[in-house]
């Protein structure tokens, strides 16, 4: 097992290094001066210029430059934002929690609704129900998320006036960021408007979270359904049935845990598209997270923000991917056996 974990760690490092390599190469292609794209200092003094050259080894060979680049970036120096002249790392830290909040809530909605629905779908014998579920999930899978977001905000926000459609909170509430998660921060704040603020945050969160949850929800339903159908045909289920267990018990105790293993695996595969969708959803609902920060960075040709954002998001995805894979292996004895056979 230790050897396996070590290999995964190794994989993480190799992938991260490759990612840095791609970014390093891309940085040299940006249509601005190289040292500017690296450091983001708009009008460097002579001293700063010397410091930049020193930091990034700009007078050395490519390899030395790359090593210096990796050292700087992993050391937390992401440069200054070209437009605001603030450290990119600070900006990143201030926008990350909002994205996490949205992603976690959306993920929870998808899992909490998707798994039971998938189980129900697998149990249904009706051709019509089966077709309906397939049609709905396939539509959900095919729907362009920006369009869905617009329609939902048009309908629920403007026509019906039920939900706010933009931003994280009514800006009149002044919430001091503690954890960065608005839902927690509003409760932690000592203002007299705490509960109103909490409710306001919840309402603001609803539409973006639902929009973002559509893709993982459909995937979870489909995978759960097919995995359940697979599992229910296995002999140990038949054995459990023969022992006279109730169907509900069989499903919850015996079938579901086994069916969730492929769901877990697919969650890992879904992270990439999920991140893409999250960026667009943040953009539509003006959610102050990494996605809208990154997109406004590209609109403003803010090359340090682009580098920092892409690096952070992809490292995060690589990490989560590997984490999910490890979890998958840990929870699945079958794949543990294959560990040493595969390369």
């Amino acid at each position: 097992m230790a050897r396996y974990l070590l290999r995964r760690l190794n994989l993480f490092l190799a992938t991260a290094l490759l990612m840095l390599g791609i970014l390093f190469y891309a940085t040299s292609l940006f249509p601005v001066e190289h040292s500017y794209a690296l450091s983001g200092v708009r009008v460097p003094s002579l001293q700063q210029q010397a410091q930049i050259i020193e930091d990034y080894q700009l007078e050395q060979g490519e390899l030395a430059q790359f090593i210096a680049y990796v050292q700087q970036r992993l050391g937390g120096n992401l440069g200054l934002s070209l437009t605001s002249q603030q450290p990119v790392a600070n900006e990143l830290a201030s926008v990350l929690p909002a994205s996490f909040e949205l992603a976690i809530v959306a993920g929870l909605i998808a899992l909490v609704l998707g798994i039971p629905l998938g189980v129900l779908a697998s149990q249904s014998q009706h051709k019509l129900t089966q077709h309906c579920i397939m049609a709905i999930t396939l539509t959900g899978y095919s729907i362009p998320v920006f369009w869905l977001g617009l329609l939902l905000s048009l309908w629920f926000g403007v026509r019906l006036g039920w939900l706010p459609i933009s931003g994280q909170i009514n800006l009149l509430y002044e919430i001091r960021p503690v954890s960065g998660f608005m839902l927690i921060d509003t409760l932690l704040s000592d203002s007299q408007y705490r509960w109103s603020a909490f409710k306001d945050v919840l309402l603001h969160l609803l539409l973006p979270a639902i929009t973002l949850a559509v893709l993982p929800f459909t995937v979870v339903v489909r995978i759960t359904r097919s995995a359940m159908m697979n599992v229910m045909n296995q002999t140990f289920i038949r054995a459990a049935e023969a022992r006279g267990l109730k169907t509900s018990k069989i499903i919850v105790r015996h079938a579901l845990p086994n069916a969730l293993i492929p769901v877990l695996k697919h969650l890992g595969l879904m992270l990439g598209p999920f991140a893409s969708y999250a960026i667009i959803v943040e953009m539509i609902f003006a959610w102050p997270g990494v996605g809208s920060w990154l997109i406004s960075g590209i609109y403003q040709r803010d090359y340090t923000v682009i580098q920092g954002g892409i690096l952070a998001v992809s490292l995060l995805i690589i990490f989560l991917n590997i984490l999910i894979e490890v979890l998958h292996t840990v929870s699945n004895p079958l794949s543990r056996k294959e560990l040493y056979a595969a390369n």
Binding site: L11, A14, T15, L18, M19, I22, L23, A26, L29, F30, P31, H131, M134, A135, L138, T139, Y141, S142, I143, P144, V145, F146, W147, L150, L151, L154, V158, L271, G272, P273, A275, S276, I279, I280, M283, L294, I295, I298, Y299, R301, Y303, I306, I310, V313, S314, I317, I318, N321, N343
Partner: protein
């Protein structure tokens, strides 16, 4: 004289025919196929049947609703946008940009992925392992981020979308082909062929290849729908096709200004995107379930 029938049973269908029979038994898949055919025809000939030029502005018909609305006219079947451009014509011209381009991107990515994937799949040991990890890394970058990086380097524009989405899609093909070649390589029938003295190229082409096609087909349908969504998303974010272009995603973003007053400028191009992605996915789904019994 009719040939004498010796055996009772019918002719044994070829694998392709069996695939088709299974596929066509699924009404959804068949509907999807019709949809894809329609889209293909529109991509090829849509510009000829469009009643107006995509950029022709009609100052007397600004924001005209679609024809089924009491205020709409039949002349502008799907209404007009805020510059008086006919949405129906723009959709037809946009089919070539969104759907047509997704096909060409996938074709390019497929051929690139095919070459790299099969070479790497035939390799053994450390080289293969390193390549596998490399692909994992490339795959973990969300396609939109990859596209953003490309746009940051090359600037926005429809041509750059081609590269952005292509670069994002290629690793998926490489990986899928790499894996399935690698899997096939371990099987016993390949060993048998090796023992017969077939060289690497022969094994690859005559032995392994026929068994990899299925993966390629499934991967292709997945990639086309992903490509359409990516092109449209980039157009919507204004990083892809630029303003007057009738690319569907860009049309949605151009209609955004009138979302409240003229929602059809947003909904209609969106429906077009949804329809084409859905059609592709239906075909892909049908193919996958039709292929499954053959594969197992």
């Amino acid at each position: 004289m009719r040939p004498i029938k010796i055996y009772q049973e019918d002719q044994i269908p070829s694998p392709t025919l069996r695939l088709w029979m299974l596929f066509s038994a699924n009404p959804f898949a068949l509907a999807g196929l019709w949809g894809v055919c329609t889209l293909l025809l529109l991509t090829l000939f849509g510009t000829y049947i469009a009643p107006f030029s995509p950029e022709a502005q009609d100052p007397r018909a600004l924001l005209l609703p679609p024809s089924w609305d009491p205020a709409g006219t039949v002349e502008h079947f799907l209404g007009t946008d805020d510059l008086g451009r006919d949405i129906f014509s723009r959709l037809l011209h946009g089919a070539r940009l969104t759907f047509g381009m997704s096909l060409s991107i996938v074709a390019t990515a497929l051929s690139m992925g095919f070459v790299i994937g099969s070479i790497s799949g035939m390799m053994h040991g450390l080289k293969s392992s390193i390549l596998g990890h490399l692909l994992d890394a490339l795959l973990s970058i969300p396609s939109l981020l990859m596209a953003i990086l490309v746009v940051a380097v090359m600037g926005p524009g429809l041509n750059n979308v081609f590269w952005a989405v292509g670069i994002a899609l290629t690793p998926q093909f490489v990986r899928a082909i790499h894996q399935s070649v690698h899997e096939e390589l371990q099987k016993e029938y390949v060993t048998a062929a090796k023992l017969d003295g077939a060289n690497g190229l022969q094994i690859f082409w005559f032995v392994i290849m026929p068994n990899v096609w299925e993966t390629v087909i499934i991967q292709t349908t997945l990639a086309i729908s992903a490509a359409i969504l990516d092109i449209a998303a980039l157009g919507f974010l204004n990083l892809g096709a630029q303003a007057p272009s009738p690319e569907w995603g860009a049309m949605v973003s151009q209609g955004l200004d009138n979302l409240l007053t003229a929602p059809w400028t947003v909904t209609i191009p969106g429906v077009a995107i949804l329809f084409s992605v859905l059609a592709i996915n239906l075909v892909g789904d049908g193919l996958r379930s039709a292929l499954t019994p053959i594969r197992t």
